[in-house]
Structures are given as structure tokens and as C-alpha cells.
Point group: C2
């Protein structure tokens, strides 16, 4: 776990937002953070990272994250929550967990399955190459002053399909759902599995890009695969990641979203998918 002090001498807001207190065997307590507040609840990426953190901090955890699926069952309300972590199976090279986040009034608000793995040397082959985009320093960050809190915790430098004055000039015809964006924690923070998990959920609703308009959306289920071990993430440091996000289909109220997350030198660190409710 990185506990990165920021200029004010405090822990990074991401570390505070995902902080947990062990309250028993496989039991943790946490609290939502104003720093990552979204329209009606905490930013889903931080909820996902918090569920992963609970499994990661379990004393029996072995290995690093390989696969994480988070199901968003109900809005997380402002305030305290409890996380229950259950070890399902530990094998020679993989370990399976089930995690639930609940609140007194709402009941279970989110669940997750987590697979940790001991990664070993093997054939390395990388058929997918990163998109060719301008260096992040040459791109202007989206201005986030006055926006929802969670948007102010990230820096977005669009290389392709920057959202333009959303809602003011809806597209006459459906536009491309594909975007390329350099994204980073704000303030920056050394990359780890938790921040990578949250970064995978920072991509704007694909329907916004298609319509050129904001409509109600919500992630229903999200799965992330991690393609390197802790050393490979640490080697990335605290610079921006390149994200390529796209969608294949919008039908009967739901859309997919696919995300590839690349390190600066073009290593694929994670791939992530989600199914998203939309109203349009």
C-alpha cells in the first residue's frame, strides 16, 4: 500500500478515501469520502478500489490482483459502511475471494469477486500496441474547477474525442464512442493496484460521446484484469496512464464499455470492461 503524503503533509486523498479499519475476522469498517463525491454517491472507482483493498488487507491474502469484478447493487449512501471479506479458495497459484459492502439502511450496496495470483516468468507476447497519441505535456488538461468533487481528483488530457460543451450542442448523428485520454490522480500519486482499479472507472459514459449530451447513466458491473505484478506497476511511477475507451453496442437501456490502460512506455497494465445503464 502506498501512503503518499501530499504537500500539506496529509495522506493522499485516495488513501484516505479507501482507508479501512479491521473490526474482526474478515470484517472492515470504512467511510465515504467527500473528496471523491459523484452526483448521488461516491465515485464507483473508489468503491471498487475499497473492495479490493479490503481483500488485499486480509492477513491470508497471497499474491497480487489478477481479476476483479465489482457489482454495483445500490447507491452507497454518505457515511459509514462495513465490508465483509470471505476467502473462497486458495490454490497453489491463485486465490479467490468474495467481498460485500453494506450499510445499515440500504443493506448490500456492492459486491466483488477478487482473484489474486502468484505470477511467474513465462513467454511474454504483446500483440496489442498502444494508440499513437501526442505526449501528455503537449495536451491541455480539462478544466475541472467547480465540477463534481471526484472529477477534481483526476487530470484528463484528451488526445482523441474530447467532450465539447456537453449538453449545449447535442450531436445531430451518433458520434464515435472511442476516446484516448491521458489520465492521472490529482495530485499525482505512485501507481498501485488500488489506484489502477479506480483509474479504470474514470472514463466518461460512452453515451455522452455518442450523443454529445449528458444523460443519466450508472455502471452495473465492472471487471478489470491486471496484466503485471507489483514491480511492473511500481516501475510506472506517478505519471499519467493512457486510456483507450470504447463501446460496441447500445441497446435496450444498456451499453458495454471497454478500456485499455497503458503505461507511458506503452505497456498494457490493465484491461477493464463494464456494462452501463443509460437513459436515452
Amino acid at each position: 500500500m502506498n501512503e503518499t503524503a501530499t504537500a500539506d503533509g496529509l495522506a493522499h486523498p485516495f488513501d484516505r478515501a479507501t482507508a479501512l479499519e479491521a473490526t474482526g475476522a474478515g470484517a472492515f469498517a470504512g467511510r465515504t469520502s467527500e473528496d471523491y463525491w459523484n452526483f448521488t454517491g461516491p465515485f464507483g472507482g473508489v468503491t471498487a478500489a475499497t473492495l479490493l483493498r479490503a481483500a488485499t488487507e486480509h492477513p491470508r491474502r497471497a499474491g497480487t490482483p489478477l481479476a476483479l469484478t465489482v457489482n454495483f447493487c445500490a447507491p452507497v449512501a454518505k457515511g459509514d459502511f462495513a465490508i465483509a471479506v470471505r476467502e473462497i479458495k486458495t490454490n497453489r497459484s491463485t486465490q479467490h475471494w468474495y467481498v460485500e459492502l453494506s450499510q445499515p439502511e440500504a443493506g448490500i450496496a456492492a459486491t466483488a469477486t477478487v482473484v489474486f495470483a502468484e505470477r511467474r516468468q513465462s513467454l511474454e507476447h504483446r500483440p496489442l500496441q498502444p494508440p499513437r497519441v501526442p505526449a501528455p505535456e503537449t495536451l491541455t488538461p480539462l478544466p475541472m474547477q467547480g465540477m463534481m468533487a471526484w472529477l477534481q481528483r483526476y487530470e484528463f488530457r484528451f488526445a482523441l474525442n474530447m467532450p465539447q460543451r456537453l449538453g449545449q450542442t447535442p450531436n445531430a448523428e451518433p458520434a464515435s464512442a472511442l476516446s484516448h485520454v491521458w489520465v492521472n490522480d490529482a495530485p499525482s500519486r505512485p501507481l498501485d493496484f488500488l489506484s489502477l482499479t479506480a483509474l479504470a472507472d474514470t472514463f466518461f459514459g460512452r453515451i455522452f460521446h455518442v450523443l454529445g449530451a449528458l444523460v443519466p447513466i450508472g455502471t452495473v458491473s465492472m471487471t478489470t484484469y491486471f496484466h503485471g505484478d507489483a514491480d511492473e506497476l511500481a516501475a510506472h511511477g506517478s505519471g499519467p496512464l493512457l486510456g483507450a475507451a470504447d463501446a460496441k453496442v447500445f441497446n435496450k437501456g444498456y451499453s458495454d464499455q471497454t478500456v485499455d490502460l497503458w503505461s507511458r512506455p506503452g505497456r498494457l497494465l490493465a484491461t477493464s470492461h463494464q456494462v452501463v445503464y443509460f437513459r436515452a
Copy 2:
């Protein structure tokens, strides 16, 4: 549920393989099928379909499958198994379930999370178009006589990257992981969410295509998103689906796999992803 009688007057082998007996509240009993036997256990696609079937048959289930994640925790042994189904949360439009398959000696062998949804009319937009491939009738099915049982329960007509004499002439350099294949139940069977779930797992290990050789592999976690409701699947009938399967990265013993599944007229019915262990 389709219960399709085959020429011999019996239920289709897929319906028999996924058959469950309700044994209590949220409890089901099943038995592995020789018809879908793989190298060391049942074909994972049938295990995934059986987990989905358990949730589907729960009397409180509402809606049709939207998202399914299956985690393969341990080999399923030949014989009886129990499935426990737990309702996590039911909302106005989505319903979340957790499912576990266990056996007396091995304990929990597989888990799943399932989201069902009530799908409503909305904007329909299909940015991804199907690959252009020859009609299935013009392609010769892979001969499956003498192969593992589960391979004989499917018909594969490759349009791109047909596996050639695997293991006899390994590739000198890594070859493409992308394949296009028309795939169908053998004998054919009207498509439903269960058979679609299994079909999404019929794609050969991407590492086989890359190496031109068979090496040990195993799916660790698999997620499928369903992009239509029951009527849209029923409209497909019993013909072959077109599958496009690819991989983005092979590193430290694990690879991803992405699959798009298309109806004959080019509707994207499902997208599926998995993370796969390999030894090479």
C-alpha cells in the same frame, strides 16, 4: 428454458448436462456430464451455464441475464455437485445474485455473480460491425471424431486462423491470436442465454494460435455481457453464431481473451472476456 428433443427422442445433451434438481431454498443438485467432458473436468462453458441456470431457476428471479462473471476456483470432479444461490439485491430494474458450486471433497469449485435486468426500449446504436466472413455453409467443419467429448458437442467452421495440425509444426514466430469462427451446438439447438453462455467459452486458447502448439491452459475468470433480451435471442433460432476471439497480452503466466458473438444477420448478442492461465 428450451428442452429440445433430439432425433433419439431424448432431451438435448446440453439440457441434460445443465439439468438441476431443486433441493431446498436456493439449493440445487446436479451431476457432471460425460457428454461435455474436457481434459480433466467438465467443459467450463457448461459449468458457467449451469451456475447461470441455477440463478435463472430460482423462483424469485426477475428479468433476463445482463452480466455473468464465473470464477473457476478448482477442478470440478466427475459426479455430483451442489449449487447454492443467494439473492443479494433486487432493484426496480436490476437484480443481483451470488452463486457457488461445491462438491463434498473439493469444497467450492466455482462461483458466479449474476445480474438480471428488465430491459426497456431506448436509443439503439451499434458502432461495432461484424467481421466480413464467408457464409458458414461454404466452410468445412473441423473434424472432431476421436476428440475430447465437449469438442464433439460443437461444430466449428473457421473463417480466419484455423488451427493447423497443432503441436506438429509450432510457429517459428508468434502468430496472430485473432480468429473468426462460426460455432454451433452439435446437434443444433435453439439459442438461449444458457447455450450462449457456454458458446462464449468454446474458443480455443489464444496461446494455441500464437504458438501453433498445445500448452496447458485454464480459464481463471470469465465475464459475459448479454446485449439483447429473450426475444432477440429466440429470433436467432438454431443456426451458427459468428465468434471473433482475440487476445491483447500474454505476460507472466496469464493472458486475456476477448470474444464478440454475432447472430447470422450481424447483431452483437454477447461480448465475453476471460483471463486465462497458460504455461509456456
